[in-house]
């Protein structure tokens, strides 16, 4: 009696092949100069690869809703960390100093 029936072996190899292809794709696209799109594309491919690993190698595809909630919670908090940090760093504008008063107040 097995607690979870194992997935067929070919699924693992299919995932591996896909991951290899995606690795080559991401390397290739990174070598092109895509301007602002390079980061979203690279991260997008990484997310797809990560998704394959999580869903199939880590069996999340057939796991309980609780496992999925745990993953969601950790990613949510990580997202909070990254985005809320940006509320500070993107709005600092410290390179622009206030104008210096014309009349010196020095005695």
């Amino acid at each position: 009696m097995s607690l979870h029936p194992p997935a067929p072996a070919w699924t693992y190899w299919a995932n591996f092949l896909t991951l290899c292809v995606l690795t080559v794709v991401t390397w290739f696209t990174a070598c092109q100069d895509l301007g602002v799109m390079s980061t979203p594309i690279a991260l997008g491919i990484a997310v797809i690869k990560a998704g394959l690993v999580v869903l199939f190698f880590m069996h999340v595809w057939e796991s309980t809703p609780l496992t999925k909630l745990v993953i969601f919670a950790s990613l949510f908090i990580l997202t909070v960390l990254l985005t809320f940090l940006f509320t500070d760093y993107m709005t600092r504008n410290y390179d622009v100093l206030p104008p210096v008063p014309a009349v010196s107040s020095r005695v």
Binding site: V80, L81, F84, D88, T91
Partner: protein
């Protein structure tokens, strides 16, 4: 939480009901050193934690004594400024990390959680024991750092002071805290899995005691927040060792990034400290007013809400640090939201007390203190979350008073109340009620005398972490130090009468308070090693007092 079959005298459903010496319980069934230091029994691990956290509390209190003694006079004449800095750092580090964060979860939570769930133990008993040893390892490093010269950065280790300019034991302390973080993580992990997977049949989520909801929310925060402080301390260590410049402006780094990462954990950490105390108060208020807690669902939901909101407000500690003003406004607004669930709890307790059958047993005195002190602490938090007023009050004694109201008036008072409440369950013996009442009153009076003047001092501008101050502040400082003496007496007393009671107190029944949760109704005092003879089946809501009659503190045998 009783099954419908257990209409009884409240003396327990399992065989002969008294904590009798001849009856096998978790304390007396085996008593070698190995049986304690290699125990897998969550109840014994709870007692191991009790001993070490009590020791750390006394040590942290001693450092507080140094602070208050220095502040009797405006001049810095009691200790050197260096030693003063080391004292408030030690006080903060010890109290925050070694007392407040582990106290209720690792002592009361460890003891009571499986009992409240009808489980034989936590999900991972070995990991439970390991967490205690990790705590001891972290404590050893930190104590070593304190003994071998101390650290004077403040418990917040702000950079670049801690990474570049200090000559004190930053590395050893950071290492100790890094190690200690794992104890917190392992405990939280254990509790979450236990609550999800080891509830007894019929114990649905909305039949759980509210203490369990609070522990659950606490554990979630521990799990998600502690790793960030771990990596932050690691970065401080690497920066100090290699001088890489991640937090050093001379090398392109940003010191405020350290503060962001530090407070990303340390703000949720304060909710780790308060949530269990809020949970304890639920149990106390309900038991000692013989009424179900008003608004069960709202209180359960507010615990989860506090856990979630705690992660989105951290930069309110950084309003004056050089944060972007737009980010400051954003965080200020969000911080108001986190007060709402706390307020829901306080109003629910008041509604619980209303038309309840209220008593004034010593645990309840602590609960009353908690409501008052936590409310004051929470409301003064709103002063500080308001951006405009915080600019003036940041780094003053107003902040010090605020957090002591919530952490001491909240967590420590809640912890004391919990200890008194569950002491007869833990040891099968009742403590003496009269000194307990005196202690509760002394703590309340001493606490207010110590910390209320500090609101005034901070409002008038006295900075924190200074060992000298302008002479006009002396009177209030004297009140504060006098209060600290009273508070100290209030703290020392339980060490004596509770310890005495554990060995020599009058025998207690299995449910002297007439509580309704599984830990009271289905276990002995003290519980047997495996908690329950058979797995209890739950069919009723918690806090159903109709079937429990209150029994006196002593049992007629």
């Amino acid at each position: 939480m009783s099954t419908m079959l257990d209409v009884k005298t409240g003396s327990g459903a399992v065989g002969a009901s008294v904590g009798h010496d001849s009856k096998v319980n978790y304390l007396n069934h085996v008593n070698t050193a190995a049986s304690w230091f290699l125990t897998l029994d969550h109840k014994r691990i709870a007692l191991l934690y009790l001993v070490v956290t009590s020791f750390m509390f006394v040590l942290g209190g001693a450092y507080a004594g140094v602070i208050r003694a220095e502040l009797i006079t405006p001049k810095g004449d009691f200790v050197s400024s260096d030693f003063y800095n080391k004292s408030f750092t030690a006080h903060g580090v010890i109290m925050v990390f070694f007392v407040l964060i582990p106290a209720i979860p690792s002592v009361i939570g460890n003891f009571c959680l499986p009992l409240m769930l009808g489980a034989k133990d936590v999900a991972f008993p070995r990991i439970n024991l390991i967490s205690w040893y990790v705590y001891m390892a972290g404590a050893s490093f930190t104590l070593f750092a304190l003994i071998s010269g101390g650290v004077d950065s403040g418990w917040t280790f702000y950079t670049p002071l801690s990474t570049t300019y200090l000559n004190s034991n930053v590395m050893a302390t950071a290492t100790g805290l890094f190690i200690l973080g794992f104890a917190s993580i392992l405990t939280g992990l254990n509790f979450i899995v236990t609550i999800h997977r080891m509830r007894s049949p019929g114990l649905t989520w909305f039949r759980l005691p509210l203490f369990v909801w609070a522990i659950y929310a606490t554990s979630v925060i521990q799990l998600l927040g502690t790793p960030v402080i771990a990596i932050t301390l690691a970065l401080v260590g690497v920066e100090r060792a290699l001088g890489v410049g991640i937090f050093d402006p001379r090398l392109g780094g940003d010191p405020i990034l350290y503060q962001h990462l530090f407070w990303f954990y340390s703000h949720p950490a304060v909710y780790i400290m308060i949530l269990p105390a809020l949970g304890v108060t639920n149990e106390l208020i309900s038991t000692f007013s013989r009424k179900p807690v008003f608004g069960y669902t709202m209180i359960a939901g507010s615990s989860i809400a506090i856990a979630v909101f705690s992660f989105i407000v951290w930069a309110h500690h950084m309003f004056t640090s050089g944060l972007s003003p737009y980010a400051a406004m954003f965080f200020s607004l969000l911080t108001f939201s986190v007060a709402i669930p706390s307020g829901i709890k306080v109003f629910s307790w008041l509604a619980t007390l209303f038309q309840g059958s209220i008593s004034f047993d010593s645990p309840m005195l602590f609960a009353y203190s908690f409501i008052g002190l936590f409310t004051i602490g929470g409301m003064t938090g709103l002063f500080l979350s308001t951006l405009g007023t915080d600019i003036h009050m940041h780094d003053t004694y107003f902040v010090v008073a605020h957090f002591h109201y919530v952490m001491v008036g909240g967590t420590i008072v809640g912890y004391l109340g919990a200890l008194h409440f569950w002491w007869p369950k833990m040891f099968g013996r009742m403590y003496a009620e009269f000194p307990a009442k005196i202690s509760a009153i002394l703590v309340f009076v001493g606490f207010n005398l110590t910390f209320f003047p500090q609101f005034l001092l901070g409002y008038m501008g006295m900075p924190r972490r200074y060992h000298e101050y302008p002479a006009e502040f002396q009177v209030l400082n004297l009140f504060s130090t006098a209060g600290a003496l009273v508070l100290g007496v209030g703290y020392i007393m339980p060490i004596f009468y509770l310890t005495w009671a554990a060995f020599f107190g009058k025998k207690a029944s299995s449910n002297p308070w007439g509580a309704t949760t599984l830990d009271w109704t289905h276990t002995e005092s003290p519980p047997s090693p495996h908690n329950f003879e058979s797995t209890p089946v739950v069919t009723a809501d918690p806090y159903d007092y109709r079937v429990i009659q209150k029994e006196g503190a002593l049992v007629a045998h």
